[in-house]
Amino acid sequence: MTELSPVIEIELAEDVKGLIKYNDDVKIEEALKEKIENFDNDDLLKVTKKIGSFEILDVKKVTEELLAEEL
């Protein structure tokens, strides 16, 4: 069975931190959680989530360098 592609969303770090803090259903590795905590609240983050779940797979800060590569 082929695995579905993950979902990618761009969110404010403040909102992602809030989601992790207040939603017990969120699954995230400790190292990734710590990485998110170290972002400024104003940072925009590229958040990769498992489709149909609250599992956060990866997070990257949205920078002009990232956009230049990916746009």
Binding site: I10, E14, N41, D42, L67, L71
Partner: protein, 167 residues
């Protein structure tokens, strides 16, 4: 968290999005648009918008998550039904202006910039309703629109720097 009262909302048309995706500074422009959309005090997450019929024509041109982070997709169905019925078969320029008047100007900051590609401004100015609302609906084409993006971004940067200094 920095929140900024920007002096106007932004409605992007499809030609503007296509134009900036070919612009040498597209990464910077998209990044600034995302910043404006997420830091708006009065319209957080909704400051910059694009109508659904325009979104449809541009969504395949780039990664959808970046497009959605730059502009929120909105629909003509949000306006009152009687007005929708009057305009649903009108040209796209008329529909964008009427949407701006009915859905966007009614909320703070009560002014809308419509961003379009170079040489498109005249098509908006020809729309009869635009003449009635020319202080509330301002058409910005090409580099004039980019200047607005830079100005709004400067407001954000200034606000962030002053808030850091007071901490």
């Amino acid at each position: 968290m920095v929140h900024v009262r920007f002096p106007a909302r932004i409605l992007c048309d499809d030609s503007f999005i296509k134009w900036i995706l070919c612009h040498p500074k597209k990464a910077m422009i998209m990044s600034r648009l995302m910043r404006i959309k997420s830091s708006s005090k009065e319209q957080k997450g909704e400051h910059n918008v694009i109508l659904d019929f325009d979104f449809k024509t541009v969504k395949a041109l780039t990664k959808e998550h970046y497009l959605k982070a730059s502009v929120k997709k909105v629909s003509l169905y949000e306006i009152p039904t009687d007005i929708y019925e009057l305009i649903k078969n009108k040209d796209k320029f008329t529909r964008r202006i009427i949407y701006s008047i009915v859905a966007l100007c009614s909320e703070p900051p009560h002014v809308v910039y419509i961003f379009t590609a170079p040489s498109n401004k005249e098509k908006y100015i020809e729309v009869p309703y635009h003449k009635e609302m020319d202080t509330s609906i301002i058409i910005k084409e090409g580099e004039d629109a980019i200047d607005v993006v830079w100005k709004f971004n400067s407001q954000f940067v200034y606000k962030r720097e002053t808030s850091l200094r007071t901490c």
